[in-house]
């Protein structure tokens, strides 16, 4: 018998993202097998496959709801782009506008557009939260699917930028760290905001069995 606890992050994810029906028993079964000597790697793999299988089954069972959630997320992202695009155009941030000290804040404002990123992340979290509220019976699947919506914009952006960089035509080579940052935000940060907003009140393991 093992004395150690199973991987904390995996258990945390399982408690929130595993299929709701009989979730408690499922977590107990995995815990029992882990205590009987299965490895932490085995546990993580089980958690991952359980979540993926649950999401796939839920989307298959609620196709229309899943499509609605995805469209909601896309619409929120388009609105966001339209609104902040206009704000950014009118409120050009440059070195004169940015705070002078400390240097790291100055760079965060100019290179990374911090004044825009914070409300963008909050807006996306609110979108995830709204989608979760509107789809209580298939919350996990719809929120995960919605979190993929920014990729519709991220993939063409990465493709265009990659081609320019490859051809040596990217005009802002000095800003490549900021470019990497925006890539990470597009592919990981924004989806994560939707996911966290959606799972905000998902509760831990104390869901009805």
């Amino acid at each position: 018998m093992k004395k150690s606890e199973p991987p904390i992050l995996s258990t945390w994810m399982l408690e929130r993202l595993a299929p709701r029906d009989k979730r408690e028993s499922m977590i107990g079964d995995l815990r029992e097998q882990y205590d009987e000597g299965r490895s932490a790697w085995w546990y993580r793999r089980q958690v991952f496959t359980t979540i993926v299988a649950g999401v796939a089954a839920d989307i298959g069972a609620h196709k229309l709801l899943a499509a609605r959630a995805f469209i909601m997320s896309c619409a929120a992202f388009m609105l966001l782009g339209a609104f902040f695009g206009r704000v950014r155009d009118t409120l050009i941030i440059d070195w004169d506008w940015a705070p002078r000290t400390p240097e790291i804040l100055r760079q965060a404002v100019v290179y990374y557009g911090l004044p825009f990123e914070i409300p963008v992340c909050l807006w996306l979290a609110a979108t995830g939260w709204t989608i979760a509220r509107c789809h209580r019976n298939s919350r996990v699947a719809t929120v995960i699917l919605s979190a993929l919506a920014p990729w519709l914009w991220a993939i063409p952006w990465a493709w265009r930028t990659g081609r320019l960089l490859h051809a040596g035509l990217w005009p802002f080579w000095d800003f490549r760290l900021a470019l990497l940052y925006h890539g990470v935000m597009f592919f990981v940060g924004y989806p994560l905001c939707i996911l966290l907003g959606g799972l905000w009140d998902a509760g831990s393991a104390v869901e009805s069995v």
């Binding site: 595993a18 299929p19 029906d21 009989k22 408690e24 028993s25 499922m26 977590i27 107990g28 079964d29 995995l30 815990r31 029992e32 097998q33 205590d35 089980q46 496959t49 359980t50 979540i51 993926v52 299988a53 649950g54 089954a57 393991a205 069995v209």
Partner: protein
């Protein structure tokens, strides 16, 4: 008509009798098939079978050994047993008279 994995799960339930919950079901399928199975896919299949009326579930008592989590026990219904018999008959009929399968050893 039952799917392949559904049939495996139902057969595992039959073999385990009253002690059929997630862990032994998973072990039974892994031992028989020699392949690793995910607990999640077993539960998803069992939920589907329950919705079709082929399986019923009962909740056991929570135990400290499982982090205070209860076991869910599964049992075959009469309809489930009929489906397994039907699948068996169908498969035997299909296997018979196939030259490529004759003389096969497991």
């Amino acid at each position: 008509m039952l799917g392949g994995f559904e049939l495996l799960v139902l057969l595992a339930l039959l073999r385990l009798g009253d002690d059929a919950y997630g862990v032994p079901i998973s072990n039974e399928i892994e031992t028989s098939s020699g392949q690793s199975v995910s607990i999640g896919s077993i539960y998803i299949t069992l939920n589907r079978l329950e919705q079709k009326g082929l399986v019923v579930s009962t909740l056991g008592e929570p135990t400290a050994a499982r982090g205070g989590r209860a076991k869910t026990y599964f049992h075959l219904t009469a309809k489930g047993l009929r489906e397994v018999r039907l699948a068996r008959r169908t498969l035997i009929r299909l296997w018979q008279g196939v030259p490529q399968l004759e003389g096969d050893r497991i």
